[in-house]
Amino acid sequence: MKFLLIEDNIQLAHAICSRMGLDGHVIDHAETITDACAYSETNDYDLILLDIMLPDGDGRDFLTAHRDGHKSTPVIVLTARSQVSDRISILDLGADDYMTKPFDHAELEARCRAVLRRRGGPLQTVKRIGNVAFDPVAGTLIVADETVQLRNRELRLLEVLINAPGQIFAKQKLVDRLFSYDDNVSENAVEVYIARLRKHLLGSTVQITTLRGLGYRLDYD
């Protein structure tokens, strides 16, 4: 997906870009409202991440201008203010969602997905591999014309594996992706979800291979 990040704290912006780059997202970074307007004029983004306190104005002004310009790109506001009233005014101005800093990237992804799903956005996110079609936004897996609604963790696990077929993922790495850091989960928990995915993928040309002591790998014919 292609993101526009509007954030004046360069270190934080770097950290976010670096983290999201790992998930294969493309991110443009604007430090000011002026830059942000220039970027959003010339590019099509799937989603805009907007900070509120910016050097050349209030992020809410960008939001208003963005909506007045009839642009439909969803906006998620990243706010450091925990004040609920702030959040509500942010939503009233046309933001699709908000997150309070610091945020969990898995949560950010979850929220992006939720926003995109709600918007019923273009289904260009559908990934086809073998005889399987996977829509991470809708959370559906189509195997031989049969649509399966994936549970969230199944979906996230499949997304990780399907984005890098042939690559081996250590169990611990998958646990980190699937569970928040405060869940005290054993590595074996991931096996449950692998088993479920395998069940969903029955009859497809895609399979998940267990590599003893190394992890899992997704292959397709």
Partner: protein, 457 residues
Amino acid sequence: MTDTTRISGSLRNRLATTLIGGAAVLAVLLFVVVRGYAAQIAQQGQDSILAASASSILDAAIIRDGSVEVDFPYSALSILSTPSDDRIFYAIYRDDTLLSGYESLPRAPFDGSATTAFTTTDFQDDAVRFISARRILVGENLRTHVSVVVGQTQDGLTLTLNRISRNVAVFGIGFFILAALLSYWATSITIERLTRLTISVTRRGPQDLSPVIAPMPVEMAPLVASLNTLMDRLDQSLNRSEEFIAEAAHRVRTPLATVRSYAEATLQRVSKEENRQALRSMVRAIDESSRAAGQLLDHAMITFRADHLEYQDIDLVELVTEFVRSFSPLAEMKDIEFSLHMSPPVHIAGDPILMQNAVRNVIDNALKYSPCESIISITVSAHPNPRVIITDQGPGFPPEQLNTLTERFTRGDNAEGTVGSGLGLTIAQDVALAHEGHLELSNLPKGGACVTFILSA
């Protein structure tokens, strides 16, 4: 407030005492003056009768055949008769020789060429008023002084004076009572302005820091002006505190967000298990501190706002729906479903910011402790009084800790693996208490925690 106010006398009492004291002094003064004046008038009356008596005796003195004859009329003494039977004394002298009457009556010395002189002396055990009058009788080759002394006891005078005194005393007391009543009334209407100001300040809601604009007497204007200045300063400082809390949140959260993002990014890259373990601990610590910072600020905000709630009409159903919507991506991550049981709108009067904080914290708690693929049930009901009931399928509360979990920084013994600050339920309870409600914690029979946020009807 009253507990901390030091009382030093009462304005009303002081004013009333001063006025009533003044009235008492005036009444006594009135009594003394009127009585003195009455005594003087009475004395003058007695003196003029004595003078008339003396002069009619003197008028009767004639020189016949070289001797002095005084054949005074009976009326000269009878005019002195009084209802209290005062005794009368008289003596007639030619030069210094007693012609007739009592011996040894005191003779007042004449002043220069005056023909009358008065004196009051004790005579035969009574206070007696004496007049001495003289006249020069001139006959053929004879020129002599005839003088007369007439005295009268003062029983009648005293009687009259006593009667006057009694009347004056009654009048004085009447005056005093009237003046006291007037003072009380005057004090009351003066104090009433102050009382009215007090009531108007007390009656306003705690968040109403607008200046007092009702017209005030000139003496009270400085007080009201100071009061208005104080309220203005208070208002400003309250606003500054709210801004400070928001700003503090910003300052704390942004660097935490930076560290967390870097840590997460690094975690994706490194593969050495001990490094990964360290990074995971780091992320957990960041979550711990950002949550603590957030809840501490929430708690500060609640403590601070609880004193001056801004009541608005809130629909609990709408509020809960809004939070469920905003929490659902989070719930989805753990494949948790919200099951909502809501009747039509449940309207309450409450402080929206506090209510949102409370509901958010309770739902957040449920999400944290719920296992994956479980259900959180939220019921909003208006009966018997407005309430939000949130149950989860998690481990529930340790039964022996049910009563202490709402205390600050207290966490369940079974909460070890979960990031938390021990403030979530405290916040919810404080908000409930600020709205005259309460928070109930219980465990469901089939396991799972149940938090009931109850507001007063």
